[in-house]
Symmetry: C2
Subunit: 623 residues, 2 copies
């Protein structure tokens, strides 16, 4: 499972997952100020000495797996980074957790071994107290408390901003309020207003805090699911490790069928990123797959089960109201959300309002006791260009806005899910309507896919929409792999999906004008211009593929330091010629040079015109 | 070279290239009205009988190679479709062409055999006459003549529009004037105004006419180049055939080094799409690769050589003016255009104005005599996010606007090239400025790439920018492959680049509101909803990959007719559940159903509100 750059030196035990630094990178940690004990992980790309540049620090979701100094043992799990932070707040208690039932793993004895060090006594909020039983980041934020989690994300978000403070801001943010510098107090205020969330279940202390909100860097989510035939624990954990390695800020475990409780435990104990789930999937398993047999008790039991395990956010399709279901009857592709269709079927078969809607406040009571964030599901999202922005979709969005207010009333963190399939000209209204209806709660969209005609390439059709909606204000982009609509993604598909969404999110950060976003582009472009090939690879989102593609044409070791590349060869290399031009221009007293050449060309008139403007062309450009 | 779906049945000779219909498609031809002899090629996807739908007609750039009825022999070349049309106009003459010189193929005896049936007497305009020596489509258009080429493209562009005339228009066209129905007269008027071009050298009669303009479907271009080691003629021709097969509307031959004259001849004689070149590349070869040794005579000779062969458009970097070169000195990546850097070097070393600029009217004289279209090159395009929209780039664009007017004065067809690397928020101003500066001449951009950090994935970083600028009004998108910045694209890279750009162009067509663009999305989405797997594959841009991905998870033949897919399995299939919902909803008298359920849920108040709106939710949605 280990990849070519990942010697297994830092592995303990018999269950290897991919580890080791990314090529050219090393892990560094930055200490907090308000909370000096926190150590914020990031990675640093050390450049060739010829660059005469400082190492480039990059946001890093990959966790301890890419830290050469950390020993990985998935049977032990990652260190519980946040446990002391949570316990220090004094508002939680350990209690005997819900006993695991056979149906949690699909009835039969699970083929996946139980995690060895499973926590039998999970944490939950103590009743009463200052937070009145809410241990959520929004509850603290509203009381003016800056938690270690908040300072952690402030430091993460700030990477590179100190260096950029002297430069003018660029970008079009469409009303986002992106600060020059992210203070912990800014993080607190954004969370308090509901404009950002830190998904951080108190029972998932292994996760490194991260923030999702319009005024922060655009994040991405990768979906994983259990294999139909459980091959090994390590392979199930590896899917999460692999996605995070390439930059997934969040991972959703969409497992169905058997073994899902035990598999989820292994994933959570080893995950450095927040884990989301769709609890209705497991609830449906518990009632034998019959949507009509779902009920509040089994759903509530599933929420408690997963909250105790440490799931950081739940997709809850409480907006699929009975009255909206007939609005989908004339659609080209009906209801394409699994959760949405399950609940639509339940509603119609019982002639009743969605039980997630009618029990919503009880759900809030559970969420706030563990700080599980809401991801209000868009069960009626469009599944085709023809169905985009229809009444069913927007009716549900309006209900999600109503539910956002209720969740906020209970001090719950909330984000809101969005489409789906939307042509480019209908994307912006989705963002605008979500901001308006949902009080600026973070938006979390799947793509959107901008055409239906490219199965096999829907990571790209959706990457286009994702970059755009990220620019317009979407806080997190749920990836799509090349296998979308066709089959189950394999390891390569997951990587392709993650990298595609990382570049889309980065394109959005650039366009929004995040102050330091362009540092990486600039460093890479300077490396490109200087023919520092290795620096170019190391600064790229996927150093391994960049190296591989380069070597397919020019495999010789010397080509990695050659001052030309395979596209043009030495004679035609435009960058080489540009360097000649630059050297030449530098040697000249440029106004004289220009004047001389103009006269030689017999263009005295134009020359005079240029003389008049002479000094101007050497000033920095206005653009 | 033939692919899996291409039996070589329809091949003559020993030099196979990929041929045979795309899976599920057949070639059809539609006759003209004004010019009844023309037969416009398109392809038709025949759907499963269960669909009860007419075959779906699709725009088709692939030429006779995908016609099961045509025998392909690349030593004979394609039929000279347009020769009778050209000769019927009575304004051309055959003359002894320029003799091929050794330096045309790089000095030594060419390793590529001469094309067997090379035309020794090319066509050129007769002096004088109604067109005063111009045999260009714009010259005819301005005189009110609707040529067969114009009617051909009108029929091509109209595919599906007749079926859509009853439906409301959708989209945001940013000032484009897209008609409900494309008449031949509309084509004429757009060409006369310079807002569109039909690249159609009178010496490339094999090409099927196509149009490039903001009010027509967005087109794409694929770049190919000769191999360093000339392996075989068929392999060189195959690159073009392969690109056109997957949808390249145009192909640019960017060959350098040896054998380029002979290779180009083979490509032109076999190409159903217009071929573009950058003549400065060959001119530079003729002077031993020394930019300073370039001169007007050798360049002029190269233009004539290529015009006689039939090249349909020339990239001419006449906007790289001496005065602009120093504007690039402080760029992060200087000049990244090969042509641009060659000419910059020439300008500086001679202290002279760019000789393409000073000889521009003489170039026009050549172009108009063969109807070679201008593609005014952007030699100073930005090569990094840092350099986007700078003064060097825009100064050149202003000059390209000036040159457009000169070319139009000479009755030449013109398009204008654009960037490059541009972050999303700076793309729109590129389009707006190009329209303003260049009198709405078609814009033809490379990407643009929306970030610099993803080498290995630059088909995607640029596909995002391409879709957006296509939406904003760009007429043709030059593809980028995954190997951009890293190495030479192979066969798979070319296909990936073409498909990526086809989907970007289609996303743009949808967003612009081309009346019939959505027909294909809708047909595919209906197939998806109905589990007509084969129809879904056949309607997709890449049926082979869609099938392959499907079969990786569910290889059994039965899975192609199964009413579920591998993502969810039969139990969870949202589309299956939706069908249940739909059947259910259809059986109900819906208002009663709703009313009943609301009351049951104890929500009498809301129920009353819904009753008041009762009829509304069954009307078609307003979106």
């Amino acid at each position: 499972m280990a990849d070519i750059n990942s010697p297994l030196e830092n592995f303990l035990g018999e269950m290897p997952v991919t580890s080791g630094p990314l090529p050219g990178s090393r892990k560094v940690h930055v200490a907090g100020t308000l909370h000096p004990h926190i150590r914020v992980a990031m990675r640093e790309v050390v450049l060739d000495p010829s660059a005469k540049e400082e190492p480039v620090r990059l946001y890093d979701a990959s966790g301890p797996y890419t830290d050469a100094k950390t020993l990985i043992d998935i049977a032990a799990g990652l260190p519980p980074l946040r446990t002391p932070w949570v316990e220090a707040r004094g508002d939680v208690e350990r209690y005997p957790g819900r006993a695991v039932k056979p149906e949690d793993n699909g009835g039969a004895k699970s083929e996946i071994t139980e995690f060895p060090n499973v926590v039998r006594n999970p944490l939950r909020a103590k009743p009463g107290g200052a937070g009145n039983g809410a241990v959520t980041q929004i509850a603290y934020a509203r009381r003016g408390i800056i938690t270690p989690e908040m300072e952690y994300v402030a430091i993460r978000e700030n990477i590179g901003r100190a260096e950029r403070t002297d430069q003018p801001r660029d970008g079009e943010s469409f009303g986002a309020e992106i600060p020059d510098y992210v203070t912990a107090e800014f993080v607190r205020s954004e969370i308090a207003r509901g404009r950002a969330i830190i998904p951080a279940n108190i029972n998932h202390p292994e996760a490194e805090p991260m923030i999702i909100g319009r005024n922060f860097l655009v994040k991405i989510n990768a979906n994983i699911g259990n294999s139909a035939v459980a091959s090994s624990v390590a392979q199930e954990v590896e899917k999460m490790v692999w996605a995070a390695r390439w930059g997934a800020d969040n991972v959703m475990d969409l497992s169905t069928g058997k073994n899902i409780h035990n598999t989820r435990e292994w994933i959570l104990r080893n995950s450095p990123v927040p884990i989301g789930t769709v609890p209705i999937y497991q609830a449906l398993e518990k009632v034998g797959g019959i949507a009509e047999d779902l009920n509040w008790d089994v759903y509530r039991d599933t929420l408690i089960e997963q909250a105790e395990q440490g799931v950081d956010y739940f997709t809850i399709h409480a907006g699929v109201r009975l009255a909206y279901v007939p609005l989908t009857a004339n659609r080209v592709t009906g209801i394409v959300s699994r959760g949405g269709s399950i609940l639509a079927k339940w509603c119609l078969s019982h002639h009743k309002e969605n039980f997630l809607y009618t029990h919503f406040e009880e759900i809030c009571e559970i969420m706030r006791a563990y700080d599980v964030s809401f991801s209000l599901g868009d069960g009626l999202r469009p599944g085709s260009i023809a169905d985009a922005n229809d009444r069913a979709q927007f009716a549900e969005l309006e209900t999600l806005g109503e539910l956002t207010q209720i969740a906020w009333k209970h001090d719950c963190q909330v984000m809101v899910e969005g489409p789906g399939h939307v042509p480019m000209h209908k994307i912006k209204i989705n963002m605008e309507k979500q901001l308006a209806e949902c009080g600026e709660a973070p938006f979390y969209t799947l793509g959107p896919l901008t055409t239906d005609i490219a199965p096999g390439y829907d990571h790209i059709t959706s990457g286009i929409g994702a970059a755009m909606i990220g620019w317009f204000g979407c806080a997190m982009l749920c990836y799509v792999t090349p296998k979308e609509h066709l089959g189950l993604p394999d390891r390569d598909d997951v990587k392709t999906g993650v990298i595609t969404y990382k570049l889309a999110a980065h394109a959005a950060d650039l366009a929004k004008g995040h102050p330091a976003a362009q540092l990486r582009d600039d460093a890479l472009s300077r490396a490109r211009f200087d023919f520092r090939w290795r620096d170019q690879f190391h600064l790229s989102l996927d150093p391994e593929t960049a190296l591989k593609y380069h070597d397919e044409t020019l495999p010789a070791e010397g080509a990695k330091v050659a001052h030309f590349c395979s596209m043009c060869g030495p004679k035609f290399c435009s960058m080489k010629i540009t360097q000649d031009v630059r050297d030449y221009a530098a040697k000249q007293n440029s106004p004289d040079m220009l004047e001389g050449s103009m006269l030689e060309a017999g263009m005295a008139e134009k020359s005079a015109e240029f003389r008049a403007k002479g000094s101007q062309i050497y000033l920095p450009t206005a653009d």
